[in-house]
Point group: C2
Chain length 218, copies 2
DNA sequence: ACCTGAACACCGTTCAAGT
DNA sequence: ACCTGAACACCGTTCAAGT
């Protein structure tokens, strides 16, 4: 039971309540009254901690992105052997997060003044997203030596990012049950196509030596 | 001025009003009162023509998809020489439509019973979308002879569709102004990467003969 | 039959009043 | 200072009443 006036613990109560409602009911049923109830505060109190529903949501998203950055660095991206494996690992970690948050909030839009987030909340969110992308880029660079110097890398990054998010959107909800292929098959197919496609479009001559030597695990 | 009791004209008034509000103000400001005002009916009347806001929106989307199918067939896909050009042409036509409708409604979700659309409205919507995809597939098949028989075509289609929608989402709103590359550059880069990537992932040996002979236009 | 518009339910947000 | 909860604004939707 958070004590009266303990703003640090109260803020954490509210964030935990938001996470709880979001995970149990999804964004569609995330409303401020439900969060207030779960955090055992009144609706008005929420607004002394977060400027708006969107700001609360952005704080939850930011926390999750920062956690993802650590997961990728410390676990998901270790022991891989090919760029394809990096993409697959990233997608498997990214899809559930996108499914909770990504569809609802536009990270880059906050930069463009698109949103009404308080500037500091927007900056934390963008920073966390940039850092996740940097992590992926670094891991890919291990197996694609030419990548960091490629002239059109600035095109490859938004292309891959967009394509991965398109797939994440595809896997959100029940619709992927419609075609006969499993989620896993499509994920692996996409990773192969993205890596080959970007290599070709960037004019990279070939993969890393480890790539051709590695046999598929499936 | 639509006459009292003319249900056909009234329905068209409502659809036209919906299109008008949507194009002027975007989905965020599309509300039933605004549509009713513009159509010069009362809010209650809307619900004798469309079961819900979503059903009205789906009808607008369906009409637009059917029009797109005709545009692709009769104009956009004629006189092209490579698969890349097909993808570029499709994206240029698709992005503005996605920007108005695609972000808000989940075509495939209606099939999965995800939505609460009346069944016939859902079926018309899905049919229009399927027909657009078939148009793209047919055009690609002209320049990729091996495509229709490829074993994993069933993976390639949702992959490309998802990637294109991810890019459409990327170009929605102002955020693409953030990186220094123009929309056109990213569109062309994506088309090249998608075509090369899918070819490689499907194990297609090579492009059509016209492809290598064509010089880049940029 | 077709249409109106007041009313209901719901939800983001505010603010005067409490402790 | 921090917190409450009634109230306001807005919007999807319904339905008794009008023509």
């Amino acid at each position: 039971m958070t004590k009266w006036g303990d703003r640090v613990a109260r803020r954490e109560d509210i964030l935990a309540a938001g996470r709880g409602v979001l995970e149990r009911d999804g964004y569609a049923r995330l409303n401020m009254r439900a969060v207030a109830d779960r955090a055992r505060v009144s609706p008005g109190t929420l607004y002394t901690y977060f400027a708006s529903k969107e700001a609360l949501f952005a704080a939850l998203y930011t926390d999750r992105l920062e956690e993802l950055g650590r997961e990728l660095r410390d676990e998901a991206f270790t022991g891989l052997h090919t760029a394809e494996e990096v993409i697959v690992a990233f997608m498997e970690h990214w899809f559930p997060i996108y499914s909770l948050f990504g569809h609802q909030i536009d990270v880059w839009g906050t930069l463009a003044g698109d949103s009404v987030l308080p500037p500091d909340a927007g900056q934390r969110l963008v920073g966390a997203a940039v850092s996740v992308i940097a992590e992926v880029r670094e891991a890919l660079g291990r197996f694609e030596p030419g990548l960091p110097e490629a002239a059109e890398l600035g095109l490859a990054v938004p292309f891959v990012w967009s394509a991965v998010n398109g797939l994440a959107e595809h896997f959100r909800g029940p619709r992927h049950g419609l075609h006969p292929h499993s989620r896993d098959e499509l994920t692996h197919f996409a990773a192969r196509a993205l890596v080959s496609g970007v290599r070709a479009a960037l004019g990279l001559t070939h993969a890393s030596p480890t790539h051709t030597a590695t046999t598929t695990r499936s």
